[in-house]
């Protein structure tokens, strides 16, 4: 099965996946620039003499009211956003999928209890739930990640559980049971790969929501704390300056929008590419 290659080919055929992929890749580059500390200036370094300057050769995207380089801060903001989102989505994906797999596979009471709990979570708008959790835990990027993870865990549980329900009654799963395989093995080896596509798509989509949630929380002052360069916080801080120093506002706003749209488009493309009904055989 040349799955990876044909997947790439199908992804390449989807304009939205390509565009989304490019956007995501650019942001990953931005993230690594920040991770390796090769931003033009340290993100928190203040240049009092260059306060609120427009874009120039020295400061490509201008400076904020502390004379900090907006470009460096945006790059570091991308790093923080992705860091929070990736950590959160990773936690949500691992825990959620595991719970979902187990719920779908073992069924009965475990299934109904976990799904009712998930229903309760679903009853709240994601952003409200995240807000409530962060308010309870206190601000900071770790707590933001935890809040986002908690919010998206039930979604992964749902996504993983659905296919498991139908896979569980498939003969080859029953056959595996009949061959004396341990349930854990059946779950991991025989069911997980069939659910993986759905989970991967969900990861991409969840990342886009997570970035949005992270930005919203930091916009409200509940996410990363100053002087950390968080995109939402930058947008929030620069709103009043929008008319006088627009670059402060525009740069992080454009980046957040691009990130969210990018992951969304990539996720959609991935979903189409991984959709088994589009396979030729």
């Amino acid at each position: 099965m040349s799955a990876p290659r044909s997947l790439m080919r199908r992804l390449g055929a989807s304009p939205s996946a390509v565009a989304g992929g490019i956007i995501v890749a650019l942001h990953l580059v931005a993230m690594f620039i920040a991770v390796f500390g090769i931003t033009p200036y340290p993100p928190a370094e203040q240049h009092p003499e260059s306060r609120l300057q427009g874009p120039s050769g020295a400061f490509l995207l201008g400076t904020d009211q502390f004379g900090r380089d907006v470009l460096s801060r945006v790059l570091d903001g991308v790093r923080l956003s992705l860091q929070v989102s990736i950590v959160a989505v990773a936690i949500a994906a691992v825990i959620g999928s595991t719970v979902g797999l187990a719920a779908g596979f073992f069924g009965r009471r475990f299934d109904s209890v976990t799904m009712r709990v998930a229903d309760v979570f679903f009853a709240f708008p994601a952003i409200l739930l995240a807000l409530a959790i962060v308010t309870a835990l206190g601000p900071g990027w770790r707590n933001t990640a935890i809040a986002i993870a908690v919010v998206y865990t039930p979604i992964f549980a749902r996504v993983a559980r659905g296919p498991v329900l139908s896979l569980r009654t498939r003969e080859y799963v029953e056959a595996a049971e009949g061959l004396g395989f341990h349930p854990a093995r059946i779950l991991v080896v025989h069911i997980l790969p069939n659910v993986a596509a759905a989970i991967i798509v969900q990861v991409s989509l969840a990342l886009s929501w997570a970035i949005l949630t992270e930005s919203s929380l930091s916009f409200l002052g509940l996410g990363a704390q100053p002087p950390q360069a968080s995109l939402g916080l930058m947008i929030s801080d620069s709103r009043v300056l929008a008319t006088t120093a627009w670059w402060n506002f525009a740069a992080p706003a454009v980046v957040v929008a691009a990130l969210v749209i990018g992951f969304n488009m990539f996720g959609d493309g991935l979903r189409d590419a991984l959709d088994p009904t589009r396979e030729n055989r």
Binding site: A44, E45, Q46, P48, R51, Q65, F66, G67, F124, L128, L129, L131, A132, T135, A136, P139, F219, L220, G221, L222, Q225, P226, P227, S236, D237, S238, R239, V240, L241, T243, T244
Partner: protein
């Protein structure tokens, strides 16, 4: 810097928290939401009595007040119909970003409540635009030789809005109400030297003081010592139906939206120039500015310098140096901060002008401890002359054995716009001399709680000023001051100077006493005083309005609409 959407945070958090039935969260959110109506608040130190500050109480009371507001409105209509042929017309619309909370002037702490009630109530004495104490309902006054008896002669023919006339009985009832601990009056401590009140006749009030107390005059000129009618006090309607002698008559309060006042044409100072005032609540200061710009609002109260600097067009901007000061409070009981040289070093390491330029876009002036114009501390009296001197700071740290640097936990409030920015600049500047700041940006209630418990190495703070230095600092810098634990520093020198200032009735002598006090405080450097900002009043279509350093809107009584 930012105007964060605190109100949104709170409302949304409240909704989420309530629906989740998380009881602990629910309590927090309740407080926050109620507190919302009182933002921006004065620093908690303004109230000597913590109960008066409890946001929960105020919110509960304001509900009642709203229901009763109509009655007084009707009364005032009747009054107006009686006489005054050249009745002034037109309404000045005042806009601000927060609604009032309590209606009892003795318990009002929030700026917006104080400033609204100041238009309705008079005080025995009054403040001029330069903060000098002048006559109010008392036409004249004198201290006895030993300074322990203060005799005041009341103005004749003054009437409350309800029609009752004002006399010494009302004055005595008002003062006794403040002195009664039950009331929870804000200014009780400031006039606590009053041992008893005598009323030899209807127009004379004699205050028998337990000790000489010069600053009591300033206290009596404060709204928190407002004169209310003895009948209203007895009837218990003070909380719900404001009835003063002031230039405007309380009308209607639509919670979260507006307060309407109508002119008191019979006021002893003469009728106001307009028919009334509407104080309107707008969601934030940016919209406020926009509203002034289009002429929808005539007078806007702006606190955020970042919003203020954007004013343009027909808007007239009045800048008054504020009494409130921005400071980095330090906890002298903790670690390296116990060492005076370390505190000096920190003070020297900070470039105050840069803080003003970055956090307030230049909207402010470097200041020492006392911001009252008549007593102003000279900025060059600060360590290193109020200039940044990193080399000196490092030298001082070396000398104190802290050359390797250390870390400080700094609490930063969310409730005023520039706090986080100030913290970031200070963080960067102290970082250069090896002092790492760990910033904790906190919601108002959490911040206040930590602050009251002195649970911080340092705190970024905006402290409101007072019209008298004694009032301003007695609670912090005297060893028995009720906030001394938070100030975490006291000395015999400070105690003595504070006591001397209190009994000295000669104004010139007082100035020199407080200059010495200020110098001593700067020498000890328990806090880093950074700057005081401006009070902004944005005007459009209004003239003859005089702003005050206290932020008071009392001169609306003289203001008129531009034809």
């Amino acid at each position: 810097m930012a105007k964060r959407a605190h109100w949104l945070t709170r409302v949304v958090a409240l909704m989420a928290a309530l629906t989740l039935f998380v009881s602990a969260c629910g309590d927090d959110a309740d407080d926050q939401a109620a507190d919302d109506t009182s933002a921006p608040v004065e620093q908690p130190d303004d109230s000597s009595d913590a109960a008066a500050d409890d946001p929960g109480d105020s919110a509960a009371e304001s509900d009642d007040a709203a229901e009763d507001a109509d009655d007084s409105g009707d009364d005032s209509d009747d009054m107006e119909a009686d006489e005054a042929p050249p009745a002034p017309t037109g309404v000045i619309v005042v806009g601000r970003a927060a609604d009032i909370d309590v209606l009892d002037p003795h318990r009002a702490t929030a700026f917006q409540s104080v400033q609204a009630l100041e238009l309705v109530y008079d005080t025995l004495l009054s403040l001029g635009a330069d903060l000098s104490v002048g006559p109010g309902l008392a036409e004249s006054w004198e201290f006895s030789g030993d300074g322990r008896t203060l005799t005041m002669h009341l103005r004749d023919g003054v009437q409350f809005h309800s029609g009752d006339s004002f006399d010494s009985g009302d004055a005595a009832a008002s003062l006794n109400r403040i002195l009664d601990e039950e009331t929870g009056a804000v200014t009780r401590a400031n006039i606590a030297s009053i041992a008893s009140v005598d009323t030899p006749d209807a127009s004379t009030v004699v205050l028998n003081l337990s000790q000489a107390d010069a600053p009591i005059l300033a206290s009596l000129a404060d709204l928190n010592a407002a004169m209310m009618s003895a009948d209203a006090i007895a009837a218990g309607t003070v909380d719900t139906a404001p009835d003063g002698t002031g230039p405007f008559i309380w009308g209607e309060w639509q919670q979260g939206e507006s307060v309407t006042l109508t002119a008191n044409v019979d006021h002893w100072r003469g009728a106001p120039q307009v028919g009334g005032i509407e104080i309107r609540v707008l969601p934030d200061e940016a919209s406020l500015l926009a509203a002034v710009d289009v002429g929808e609002v005539n007078v806007a109260v702006i606190t955020d310098p970042l919003v203020a600097v954007q004013a343009g067009g027909d808007v007239e901007v009045l800048r008054t140096p504020a009494l409130a000061y921005h400071a980095l409070m330090m906890n002298s009981n903790r670690g390296p901060l116990a060492d005076q040289s370390v505190r000096h070093a920190i003070s020297c390491a900070i470039d105050r002008q840069e803080v003003i330029d970055s956090a307030a876009l230049g909207e402010g002036a470097v200041t020492g401890p006392i911001t009252i114009p008549a007593y102003q501390s000279p900025p060059d009296g600060l360590p290193c002359g109020g200039q940044q001197d990193a080399a000196e700071a490092r030298r001082l740290l070396e000398a104190a054995g802290q050359g390797a640097g250390f870390e400080l936990n700094v609490i930063v409030p969310m409730f005023y716009a520039s706090a986080v920015d100030e913290a970031q600049v200070v963080q960067a500047q102290l970082g250069e001399v090896g002092i790492e700041l760990d910033l904790e940006v906190l919601e108002t209630d959490v911040y206040v709680e930590r602050w009251l418990a002195a649970d911080f190495d340092a705190a970024v703070a905006l402290n409101s000023g007072k019209i008298d230095p004694h009032q301003m600092y007695v609670r912090y810098w005297t060893s028995d001051g009720n906030l001394n634990a938070i100030a975490s520093y006291s000395s015999d020198t400070l105690d003595e100077l504070m006591a001397a200032g209190r009994v000295e009735t000669d104004p010139a002598a007082r100035v020199s006493i407080y200059a010495a006090f200020s110098a001593a405080l700067q020498e000890a450097s328990p806090w880093v005083w950074i700057y005081n900002g401006f009070e902004y009043r944005m005007l459009n279509g209004v003239e003859n309005f005089t702003p005050m350093p206290t932020g008071s809107l009392q001169f609306l009584r003289e203001a008129s609409l531009v034809e």
